[in-house]
Symmetry: C2
Subunit: 433 residues, 2 copies
């Protein structure tokens, strides 16, 4: 680093990368005043040098010309995917460069080795853009709430699925039609599976849980259910009950444990019924929001744009200025903290409430037979509603808190009952309703 | 500082101070693991040593025994008020101690000298708890959004007034009755004037504006109107129009200026009509929320508890751990940035929309006479509604964007019209409606 110049390389010049480059150049004097020195783009790694690009910077397709360049202080990784991003980041950290990345999949899978390496080399590794785009949520968890005990996080962290569920709820259309509309409008990709299946949200859940609970959590620790099975009938029933369905990334300290030293945590992504009065219920379309509960602070919510070139670039630049301030002042930011020894609770042990819809024969004794199965597995019923009659009768059953393994066993046995035509859906319920 | 021990003194052991002491002791091992060393309470300053207190710490009523003690690394100021807090903080900073404070009034008035002193002495001066209690908003503005341009902030930053306005809106009661209820429930103080008159919110507006726009802003720069004049009829009319009234702290870059280098900012606190669909509209009772718009990040909202011992203590402890991490690692946090040279726009130049209620005689020509006055001062009317008839007729007029000086002149002339009995209210309108 030359005096008061931070030399930056950007890996990837797609949607976000191009915007980061544009803002670094356009806002150069503001950023310099705020950081305490110049932020200079040294090189930009692209796959194809033949594509015409408007930015006036040095493009290269040779990663080593960046990673082996001792003048470069900071590498911004915006390629996505596991490889070669992982190798490039390790090379950068190893040679004493700080790294800013938006790569949630990589961090959720290989965070531990990358944070250990950053720690060893005494450099910054920041990733605010990896979760909930422009919304400042990782720094608040790492720094602002560090004096508190976070007990639960519920986040709408995938814009595609929130857009689809919003459309289904507001227009009554079914999943496939809402998905097609989202694809037409650019809110869903041609292959939307990572979003729809909840894998994208699961990576973010792992990152949020790790920061909130000071514990290492990987994507494989996260239980994950997507939204493809949510039907327009589910949505209609939810609306009728004053509820709404959201795909939530949930991380919580096991509420049953009173022993502070041997707590377990549960991290899961699944369609979730919440009250229409819950702050998360009003988060519409592609917006994201993270709802946080902490012992002293109480309930908080962080709301904003979760994706897109500009919002993501805003989060990246916040991290870039943080690295620059540390470099210019000779310090370093707070390291990743994973001192806490929380066990990951298996999903079978998790306790939630459930809404179950059954198609049943409309004849005497049906409710008794159904109730018997719940009773057998010690799942307590809060309310039962019956809709329709004759061949189309439907039972909607809301349970009290139930253990997942008990609920699964109940559902399996319900499906075998002669009076039950079909278990139409099983959806978890969170918060006060 | 002895190796890996941060020696802390707390000034004030009231509601917040007692909670900070309790949490520092109860969560000692967690805080040590997160901070990288022990947080030790050295002394606590109280006015009256005779009051029995449960905390096992050394109490003193001699400030100098703290401020002159070279072993103390960090002073947490929780006394409130200008003096002696200002003198104590200056003494602490001067002798190389870092300071964490929740004192918004002091920072809004004397922030400049305190930040300059902290800068000179190379110590941290943090104050997350001074605005919006437990909600992480100052650190996100200072760090997460530092690579972006914030263009507007609208905050519900006073819980007392939000509680009163919520009750007026939801129960139909008038201001005095809602205020009495708030006092009975402990949401308003016996002398509620600092809250009701908007002075508390104005101090917070100055702090938010300073951080967001990298400019020094004091409480005297903030235009301030309270909620005492808001009537139950105002609330009823707002509800009928799909609007809600909130006391907002607003800070914005003058939208009319296209010259990035010579912008002005406007900082104001006043009752504000917003759409019931605006995210701020759903912030009820004593909750706080800060809505932020930035060029790249777009719209964001930060929501949570704005006051109370526990939430405020959470914010204080976040700052304490930040200071500790810096002390243990040998660094220092980002300094206050006030490089930007924004002028403060006088309120007379500010542009907003207005809703004006007039009691008028119900006879031909009234509307023409009224419209004429608006026209004379070039205030453009968007809609006019007439309610009632005979002696009780009321005109409700929504304007387009108008300059405050033009609007004031219009209102003055309207009051002189023989057909106008009374200008019942004039309330600003923000956001899309």
């Amino acid at each position: 680093m030359s005096a008061n110049n931070l030399q930056i390389a950007v890996l990837g010049a797609g949607n976000v990368g191009a915007e980061v480059i544009r803002l670094l150049q356009q806002n150069h004097s503001d950023l310099a005043a705020r950081a305490g020195g110049n932020l200079v783009i040294s090189k930009v790694l692209v796959r194809d040098l033949k594509i015409k690009r408007s930015a006036k910077v040095e493009f290269t397709n040779d990663a080593n010309s960046i990673l082996n360049d001792p003048k470069i202080d900071l590498v911004i990784e915006l390629m996505g995917g596991i490889e070669p991003a992982r190798t490039y980041i390790k090379q950068a950290l190893s040679s004493g460069k700080s790294v800013v990345t938006a790569n949630k999949a990589l961090l959720a899978k290989h965070g531990a080795e990358l944070f250990a390496l950053a720690d060893e080399k005494n450099v910054d590794l920041y990733y605010e853009a990896a979760v909930a785009g422009a919304i400042p949520i990782l720094r608040p968890l790492r720094e602002s709430l560090v004096g508190d005990h976070v007990t639960k996080i519920m986040g709408i962290v995938n814009g595609t699925t929130n857009y689809i569920l919003t459309k289904m709820s507001e227009t009554g259309e079914d999943f496939q039609s809402a998905l097609h509309r989202a694809q037409e409008l650019g809110f869903a990709e041609a292959d939307p599976s990572a979003d729809i299946d909840g894998k994208d949200a699961a990576a973010k859940a792992a990152i949020l849980a790790g920061l909130a609970f000071h514990t290492r959590v990987t994507d494989e620790d996260v239980y994950c259910e997507g939204i493809a099975k949510i039907s327009d009938v589910d949505i209609k029933v939810a609306n009728a009950l004053g509820l709404t369905i959201k795909l939530l990334a949930i991380a919580q300290v096991n509420a049953n444990s009173k022993n502070l030293n041997h707590k377990s945590i549960c991290v899961r992504v699944h369609p979730t019924l919440i009250s229409q009065k819950h702050p998360l219920a009003s988060v519409r379309e592609a917006y994201n929001a993270v709802f946080v509960e902490a012992e002293s602070a109480g309930q908080m919510m962080f709301y904003g744009k979760g994706a897109g070139g500009q919002p993501t670039a805003s989060a990246v630049l916040g991290d870039v200025v943080a690295v620059a301030r540390h470099r210019f002042s000779g310090g370093i930011g707070p390291k990743e903290s994973d001192y806490a020894d929380f066990k990951i609770e298996p999903i079978s042990e998790s306790q939630t409430r459930y809404l179950i819809r059954l198609n049943v024969a409309d004849k005497p004794g049906v409710l008794a037979a159904v109730a018997q199965e719940f009773n057998k597995h010690q799942v307590s019923i809060q309310t039962v509603r019956q809709y329709g009659a004759g061949t189309n009768a439907e039972l909607t059953i809301m349970t009290h808190l139930a253990k997942e393994s008990d609920l699964s066993a109940t559902v399996k046995d319900l499906a075998k009952l002669s009076v039950v035509d079909d278990v139409a859906s099983v959806i978890r319920v969170e918060g006060e309703i």
